[in-house]
Subunit: 247 residues, 4 copies
């Protein structure tokens, strides 16, 4: 019997991560990773109650031992031969914005820790599972998606830490796309250019009118679309922004 | 009663145009434009027979009078208050590739005639119909999609005519996105980076393995996805290429 | 005797064109082209009086016959075997900015007429003269420079005419760079991102402090630098903006 | 008396670094940094013998303590109030190219260690000295230049480590340009797209003809040009490649 295909999502919070989890959980068992279990506990329960299967794993994606342990738990849960239909890297480091000369070395390293090193660890852990899926002739090409931001394309003033991480993430996505695309894994990078509509941003952009903040569900639809693309027709980069956004 | 929403596709041939027509015809009446009726005749018949509605109109998209006449025919067919759910500009000028010093002025103008001037005429004719649709609270945001190519981003040697047109088309798409996005019209530009799998390209890329040529149906899926995006989550540019493509 | 090398500049006005003319006139005889002789008359006199050699030619760079006539005059003046050290395309069409649906077809065509068609005519006329110079082992590689703008990279709202032209110009520059670079002609595209300090812009950007507008002489220095680059070290694209510019 | 202005170059080897040192040493005392003194010893001697002033400092640019010590030596040598006319970050991490799944975490970190973390340390150490120079109304705007590569724009297959570092470096350069440009410091990023002609590359590109490898002296000319640009006319990004290079 073929291994059951799963989806692994790193960086599950109240916005994109949760919406992607709900969307992919309609088709696949989902593994939700976040540092703090409070970020996924209720969602795991919600998915499991509604007929899906979800497993929450607490992990620091920028810590090698923690990531290793997390993927060990996945193997325990789903078997050592588990294969992956999709993996979504949605983690983001702490956002540091201050005058450059006031940044400590660890402030500057913050962006890269998650978006560079963390994305590397996640990619090395998921790619073998995605490749394993290629061999099983799955319905959709196995897919590795990275969440980027405006700062993936443009380094703004006082944004060097965040931008350095997001630029590095985009470099990784491109490099993996070129290496693993021909092996059948769809690697895509999404540039989310705007504010996502979550409880924390409720007071933001007041007065900008309806739909000025991005619907996390709509992002999840876009990620699902990327996953379902035919391998003759891969999209490697997509931008996403509200209709009112200046860009 | 609200006007019936239609889709208008310029540049219908055996590949992308036909696939997009079939896809959108499942939901909307479609108008198919091409210079030569042989490019759409059998498709119009196919769609009409299978329960959809299609109208073919012969038009030279780079000729103002011809475009005017075509949109007059649309008004006759669907009423003067017809509104548009989607408009797809898929026309491409004759592809001229030769040493720069051997290009005649009209060779060079070939690319722009369709991709610049033609896209302008098409946009000016469809945008009022797309805006009309905004007022009718349609299920999906009205959408204007332009088909680009590798040459939209890079001017290769001996490719100045084609690239100048495709660059100009991208400029138009960006400008319209910024002007009409906030008015509720989704403007998107797709970069098709590869060879499309149609009868004419049957002998191409032999030996590159299966799915090395882009499935036109998969492009149509992507265009439909763009059309169905929520307005808080517009994608303005998408790239599409086979998994084996170098880029 | 080797033909004397000349520099040809299209689009000479009070800003970049005049400054480039003064700079290159220190080394080469210069041909100044503009539609209106009032744009170059006093400059031609100034250069000739100060020991240089300048010839002014009235030409509409977007008109084939006019361009042909102008290059006929050049051949008469400098001999049929004249070779070119540098050619600078600095012409820009009339700047049209209005709501897209209010553009007439000829409004839209304005940008391309000069930046697309005009640049094509200028390139076809100067490249043979630049190639001729390659054979004469000149001190600096023969150079063809195109002046771009912010709109070369970004199509702003209501800017479709200007941006379509400037995008097309960039496509042409890239294509020529790739075709003629290996033949020894340096093709470069400069993105001027800001307001140039000329009499017409005197009242602009008041309050932005000193040097908030670009010095035309500094642009000329940049163009001269491009011209003097070693052929192992060509710059194909350069951006130029005041230190205070947001970008 | 105003402090004497100096130039600091990190990453001095036989190519770009040495050429930049020779060029800037004609005008400023130069500080040459490299891990291994053998990389600068003979050059320091050469410059000092020929009437310039050069100081070599052994430092690991990716190590905070080492960088701190190096800048302490600079203060000892030139005084605590020394100001900087130019600072050039030319260091590059070890180049790692292998299949992604064979990369160790430290392999992947290699690119960022120098191009990200090292560039951060260098920037934080030199910017105060560059800002100090602004107050002294120097002849040329103080300038901070970063050396990038083809991989600054494109993440190739098996190039994730190097590209992630170079992308991060570009993000830093953009961010600093936007923060410190308005303060009068010129920040520029150079994309060196080709093989530099040094002893180590002597056997490379045989058969590509003369000047197929980039002259390091020509790069130094470009860096000097960037340094001498008027502040109304800053170039923030420049590409450099041999005339024969495909791009």
């Amino acid at each position: 019997m073929a291994s059951k295909l799963i989806t692994i999502i790193a960086g599950v919070g109240p916005g994109t991560g949760a919406a992607v989890a709900r969307k992919f959980a309609k088709t696949y068992p989902v593994v939700l990773m976040a540092r703090n279990p409070s970020n996924y506990d209720s969602l795991v329960e919600e998915i499991n109650k509604s007929g899906g299967k979800a497993v929450g794993i607490s992990a620091d994606i920028s810590d090698e031992a923690s990531v290793k342990k997390a993927f060990g738990q996945i193997a325990e849960e789903f078997g050592g031969e588990v294969a992956c239909a999709a993996a979504v890297f949605n983690a983001s480091g702490k956002f540091v914005r201050k005058p450059f000369l006031e940044l400590s070395p660890s402030d500057f390293a913050t962006g890269y820790a998650v978006s560079g090193h963390g994305a590397f660890l996640f990619s090395q852990s998921t790619l073998p599972l995605l490749l394993r899926s290629v061999d099983q002739s799955p319905q959709y090409p196995p897919t590795l998606i990275f969440t980027g931001a405006t700062a993936s394309l443009k380094g703004g003033a006082q944004m060097s830490s965040f931008a350095a991480g997001k630029f590095a993430l985009r470099a990784l996505a491109q490099s993996l796309g070129r290496e693993f695309g021909p092996k059948g894994v769809h690697v895509a990078h999404a540039i989310i250019d705007g504010v996502i509509d979550i409880p924390r941003t409720k007071e933001w952009l007041q007065g900008a009118g309806p739909d000025a903040k991005i619907s996390a569900d709509a992002i999840a639809d876009a990620y699902w679309f990327l996953h379902t693309q035919h391998r003759s027709c891969f999209t490697n980069e997509i931008d996403i922004r509200p209709f009112v956004e200046k860009w």
